[in-house]
Amino acid sequence: MRKELVAASAEPMILALLARGESYGYAIIQEIGRRSQEQIQWTEGMLYPVLHRLEENRWIKARWVEGENGRKRKYYALTKAGQKELAEQHQNWLAVHDVLSGLGKADRIPI
């Protein structure tokens, strides 16, 4: 998958994932990998800057949680502004998806 596409699609996917409940970096990468049948493999170097940017925009908020084994994890959760943003981005992606699926698969396009 192209770098630009990964970068562009990361935001709505993270927002949508967090809309289902709070989560942390490691789990987000695992979950996206699992849901895409390992087709989308995010790297930490790509994920954390996006998370921090979303946090700066106040679409998500973070808190440190200490687990039972003393391990600290930074959990992210969606904010009100984040929900609005997600709705908007979701709409945009649906529009792209509709056009692409309406045009059909590449092997069916007559030359």
Partner: protein
Amino acid sequence: MYPLETRIQSWREEMSAAGIGPGPVRDELESHLRETVEELVRSGESEPKAFAMAMARLGSGAQLRSECDAAISPVKRIWRAVVFFPTNLCFAAWCALGLGAYLSLTILRLTIEIAGSYPQRVLTTSQVIVISLITLLIGWLAAYVIRASLSYLRKPSFPMARALAVSWTVTFWMFGTSAGSSVFGPASSIQPYPALWTVLFSAACFIVARFVYEHWKRHLVLAEGAQPPAPWEIHE
């Protein structure tokens, strides 16, 4: 027993050297690193291999740093570079001083020459360039010494103390040609060539510092595939 904590400690230092210092970002990456190691160990990997794989997945400090940098605005990036590396500011100041020396000396020379109050040239162009370059060189050395001293204060150690002793001695030496003349001969033979001696002294300083560093590097125990830190990144 695999020294995981020691390995993580050196990973932290590598991150600090790359500009990801102590703070929430490094804590978060460390938490991620530990999580990945645990997961790999659970799936049957040995601890050393799991750690190496987790490190490779996470990427090097420089890589992470450039990826983090790409996400923030250029103004913030420059600000961060100055805040994280105060010696950058020091270095920039010395560069400006070198340039300033060049410009002001050139202006002074031209003014005097145009006024015609001096029959011969006050300073030749090559002299002006040499003086400016020396200012730059001293600046670079000063930045290095200040940075090394700061990291020594944070974490004292024998090799660092030795390197500092050498660099401070030579720095003080460089500033006084009279000190140099007492070693290299009568003042009269030194006075016409202060620039030459200064260059020689600083070159000697760099060679000695390099020698100390190479010696120290040979006794270093590194994680698999890790690069030894550069002289200015040494904290222990």
